[in-house]
């Protein structure tokens, strides 16, 4: 109960307007309304060297339990209308057809989906089959996000991926034949990669004609095999200058080929921006099920336990799977909203921002904005505040100042 009691007047007002429901009985999950759902499918055929996500490598014995757990979480989640659904992972394509079908049905049983609902499912190239695509299409899936990563065999190997380049081309063809929207994940700055190789890779991707790309510079995070390899000197990171060049090349080449850059790592043909992901960056609310998944309702953010077994044990035992829970202050929420908004290339419109958050960015962080505008890292463009290209490249050095109340 107290967990959900509004802590300040501003927040109270917003609560009323958007109708978060304070439950009569404490439930294992925070309660709130949202028009987006994320489901985390923890399965992978193996763990890649750069991955620190919540994944479960190996047998599918856990599938029935996982189906039951999602169903349990659904019972703890307020029903309502959804405009976007996203199945991520892990690799949702590792689910067997019956398990996938049961999950697809669960979504329909629990929620109303608007007719134009965007529904994305992530997939490994080698898992994509006509039957699988048919099943998804039947249930309303509109979009496939393919973990292609690279079109160069050597690089796939360096990245520790199990699929072949042929798998990607075949999957691309199948998805397009099925009439689904296609998004490709790509990685640059793999160990040993040159700028020329990246350009070559990028042009292969462009030739697919996919509607959407998510392009990530390889980051070596704590808890990954690459991290320990690097620490032991067995893995060389691509030098920063080259990484910067690769990133800038990506921006230039994709723009030229007709893909709009709309968020730090995301590019789309006009009309094909990922509506689900935009909700994260627009600080909207979303439901979430599955291990490691994060839900957000009006400043309450909860993350489920990342261990699949712990998650299952808890949910099936009727206990909360929540691992981390935080209640953001109004101040933190609006500063976070500013940062997330600036990660989109559209940037932030000061009056629109103020209408929702009670202050313009200039009022929120006058000193920091002034400095960054003067340093040419931020700029005003058609009445909106946004990052310059140089600002984009060093944006992580900017956010701290905007999150700080003295900013």
């Amino acid at each position: 109960m107290s967990r959900l009691a509004p802590s300040n007047p501003c927040q109270d007002r917003t609560f009323g307007a958007q109708g978060a429901v304070v439950p009569q009985e404490p439930l294992p999950l925070a309660q709130g309304r949202a028009d987006a759902l994320y489901v985390h499918v923890p399965f992978c055929d193996h763990r890649c060297g750069y991955c620190n996500f919540a994944v479960w490598v190996g047998s599918k014995e856990l599938e029935p339990a996982l189906n039951r757990a999602w169903e349990q979480e659904a019972r703890w989640t307020l029903p309502g209308r959804l405009t976007t659904v996203y199945f991520g992972g892990g690799t949702p394509s590792r689910l067997s057809l019956p398990a996938m079908e049961r999950l697809l049905k669960l979504v329909h049983q629990h929620f109303d989906l608007v007719p134009e609902c965007e529904w994305t499912v992530e997939a490994n190239p080698q898992d994509v089959t006509p039957q699988w695509l048919e099943l998804l299409r039947e249930h309303g899936v509109t979009r496939i996000s393919l973990g292609a990563q690279s079109f160069l065999p050597q690089k796939l190997q360096a990245l520790d991926r199990r699929h072949q380049v042929e798998h990607i081309w075949r999957a691309v063809e199948l998805v397009q034949q099925a009439g689904l929207v296609l998004s490709l994940d790509l990685i640059f700055a793999a160990p040993g990669e040159s700028l020329a190789q990246w350009v070559q890779d990028l042009h292969c991707a462009i030739r697919t004609g996919a509607e959407h790309f998510s392009v990530y510079g390889l980051t070596i995070e704590r808890g990954t095999r690459f991290w320990s390899l690097r620490r032991r000197g067995l893995l060389q990171e691509v030098p920063e200058e080259l990484q910067a060049q690769m990133y800038e090349t990506t921006l230039d080449h994709l723009a030229q080929a007709g893909w709009q850059h709309y968020e730090v790592s995301n590019f789309a043909r006009p009309g094909f921006q990922c509506q689900h992901n935009l909700k994260y960056w627009h600080a909207k609310d979303y439901h979430a099920w599955g291990p490691g998944a994060a839900r957000h309702y009006q400043g309450i953010r909860q993350t489920n336990h990342p261990s699949t077994t712990t998650y299952l044990k808890r949910v099936l035992g009727g206990r909360s799977p929540v691992w981390h829970s935080e209640r953001l202050s109004w101040e933190t929420r609006r500063r976070e909203a500013l940062v997330l908004g600036l990660r989109t290339t559209a940037g932030v419109h000061p009056e629109e921002f103020a209408a929702r958050w009670g202050a313009t960015p200039q009022e929120l962080a006058p000193q920091a904005l002034e400095n960054f505008l003067r340093q040419g890292l931020l700029t005003w463009h058609q009445g909106r505040l946004r990052l310059t290209r140089r600002g984009l490249l060093v944006s992580d050095s900017i956010w701290g100042e905007l999150l700080d109340e003295e900013g």
């Binding site: 979430a288 957000h296 993350t303 340093q375 890292l377 944006s395 050095s397």
Partner: protein, 604 residues
């Protein structure tokens, strides 16, 4: 019943660190029945612990013992002396209260730098010196060679040396016998006007200042009104007595005796070591010779890492100075570091002791600037300025002459390292004075050099060159003109006051290059290029650039990433806030010691 003056012996033990001074003192206490066997064991352990912690005895003590010898009851006053050169003046005052000294030399280590320095100090005071070779029970004891060293380096008769082991007690009664037979009784007239010398003091929370005195002439009684001649203050003696080793109140102390006074003095700053205690109506002519105010030779800035701890730091410094009047501090402001204090110390070791206590007792996070010596600057208007901070350096146009303190450094070391040490001293602008051989394998090298070079990193270099076998000591010679300049450090075009140093003009290029190189490592990259320069006046002599961050961007920031990323960004921001900002450049606190570390290992 008053103790006849001819049955009093006042003596001290002088030794190099770790040669067993505390153990011998405790052994003497045991032999005279001042402490029990059990207390001896406990004290033995305590003192070892203390020595292990500090490596030296910081505070002098005076213990009064009684020993029956050949039908007479002798009063033996054992005065402990601080062992280190930083307390040279305090040592000299303690020695002035004695008629004799036990010169303690480790039978394995032999004569060391402080052995020599302390012996010379004792000879200056005309003390009778009894050489004592300690630790003869050690397997590796080399008694014959050490006796030879004593003769060679100190000119003492080796046949007069007593062999003992403070640890086992062997030879301790011979030591006591020698104290009675060889050390002369004190001179002094109990009927003359009162003259007592203050040789130490410490602060007791309940009683105020406890003052240690040696009565030279006359007598001093409880309830008597006395005057401290230098301080010019008059006090009533509330209690007097001696330590046996527990404080034992007495009715009076007379000429030749050693003891303590409690006069309701609230601050140690009123009690000057070397001052004379006399009667309330006494004139200045009764002052005993040799008084000197404390000479603070090393200064550094101490700043709270968090500006909000300023008051706490002030309180901590005040508490320390109550117990140690030779340490001083005054408020100072730095553009880079904010509000802090300029602190003066007798020497480098004294500085380290104070810092260690600050850290232990106050648990404050401190930023320390590089230590500097006290310079004298003669300006064209004929005035002499004492400079304890590079910031105080007058404009080069006004300077007629800059003088720096010179010291005579004595190194005692295995002969094979003479070459490397001489080379080091030459680099440090040392002037060779002499080399003496203590034995075929060990030598003393005496070199005059600027104190600034000594405090820079000389001790570390000595230890590293001699693999730990070399020891050093130094004494102040005085001031000498030198070609010194102020070297400024500029970060992002702005002068960082706390990083300025004074150095020899010929060293400026090397020092400047080392400092900017070190700062380049210490300062994080920024969103713009950061230029670091070393300059003399307006002339830049070294330069480095820290290139701007080129790429720092989180690729993925979806629902599950947001909390973690926000915390990470906020944490990075917090880290930056703890740094000191010069213009737009954030400088981490450890960078302020870069001037010290540049080209040297930090002294541990």
């Amino acid at each position: 019943m008053s103790q006849p003056i001819e049955l009093i012996r006042n003596f001290c033990i002088i030794a190099h660190v770790d040669h067993g001074k505390s153990t011998l003192a405790d052994r003497i206490l045991l032999a005279t029945g001042a402490i029990s066997e059990r207390e001896f064991r406990e004290q033995f352990l305590d003192d070892l612990e203390l020595e292990r912690q500090r490596g030296i005895t910081i505070k002098a003590r005076a213990v009064t013992l009684h020993w029956d010898y050949q039908g007479q009851r002798y009063e033996l006053n054992l005065i402990d002396t601080p062992g280190h050169v930083d307390f040279h003046y305090e040592v000299s005052r303690s020695l002035a209260c004695c008629e004799g000294a036990l010169l303690l030399v480790d039978a394995f280590q032999g004569v060391e730098a402080q052995t020599v320095a302390n012996t010379y100090a004792a000879l200056e005071q005309d003390l009778t010196i009894i050489p004592v070779i300690n630790k003869i029970d050690l397997k590796h004891a080399r008694v014959e060679e050490v006796l030879q060293e004593v003769e060679q380096s100190l000119g003492l008769d080796p046949s007069e040396a007593i062999l003992c082991s403070a640890k086992t007690g062997q030879g301790v009664s011979e030591v006591l016998q020698a104290v009675v037979e060889r050390i002369p009784p004190p001179q002094g007239d109990p009927q003359a006007a009162l003259q007592a010398m203050i040789f130490d003091s410490h602060y007791d929370t309940y009683r105020g200042a406890i003052t240690y005195v040696r009565v030279v002439n006359g007598r001093i009684r409880r309830r008597q009104r006395v005057r401290l001649l230098k301080a010019g203050t008059v006090h009533e003696v509330q209690e007097l007595g001696c330590f046996t080793p527990a404080p034992t109140p007495k009715e009076e102390l007379h000429a030749g005796q050693v003891g303590y006074l409690i006069c309701n003095i609230k601050s140690l700053s009123e009690v000057h070591i070397g001052d004379t205690v006399s009667t309330a109506d006494a004139g200045p002519e009764l002052a005993l010779p040799g008084y000197q105010p404390p000479k603070r030779m090393v200064y550094c800035g101490l700043y709270p890492a968090d500006g909000e701890d300023y008051q706490e730091l002030r309180d901590a410094l005040e508490r320390l100075s109550i117990n140690d009047p030779s340490f001083e501090f005054v408020p100072e402001t730095s553009d880079a570091l904010g509000f802090g204090f300029r602190c003066g110390f007798l020497g480098l070791l004294h500085m380290e002791i104070i810092q260690q206590r600050l850290e232990q007792e106050a648990q404050l996070d401190l930023v320390q600037t590089a230590p500097t010596v006290t310079y004298e600057v003669l300006t064209r208007d004929g005035r002499v300025h004492r400079i304890t901070n590079p910031q105080q350096m007058p404009d080069p146009g006004q300077i007629q002459e800059v003088r720096q303190p010179m010291v005579r450094v004595s190194f005692v070391l295995p002969a094979e390292y003479i070459g490397p040490i001489m080379k080091l001293c030459t680099q440090r602008r040392g002037r060779f004075v002499r080399t003496e051989y203590l034995s075929p394998t060990r030598a003393i090298v005496v070199v005059d050099m600027p104190l600034a070079e000594v405090i820079y990193d000389l001790y570390d270099r000595l230890k590293s060159i001699t693999h730990g076998y070399g020891t050093m000591d130094y004494e102040l010679l005085g001031y000498e003109p030198a070609d010194l300049v102020k070297l400024d450090i500029l970060v992002g075009g702005k002068r960082v006051d706390a990083l300025s140093v004074i150095c020899h003009r010929e060293d400026a290029y090397r020092r400047g290059k080392a400092i900017v190189g070190k700062l380049k490592q210490e300062i994080d990259r920024h969103l713009f290029d950061v230029v670091i320069q070393a300059a003399i006046g307006s002339r830049v002599i070294a330069r480095e650039t820290i290139p701007a961050i080129r790429k720092n961007v989180t690729a993925k920031c979806y629902g599950g990433d947001i909390t973690r990323k926000r915390k990470l960004w906020a944490k990075q921001r917090e880290g930056k806030k703890r740094m000191k900002s010069i213009g737009q450049v954030d400088i981490p606190q450890r960078a302020f010691l870069a001037v010290l570390d540049a080209g040297a290992q930090k002294r541990k």
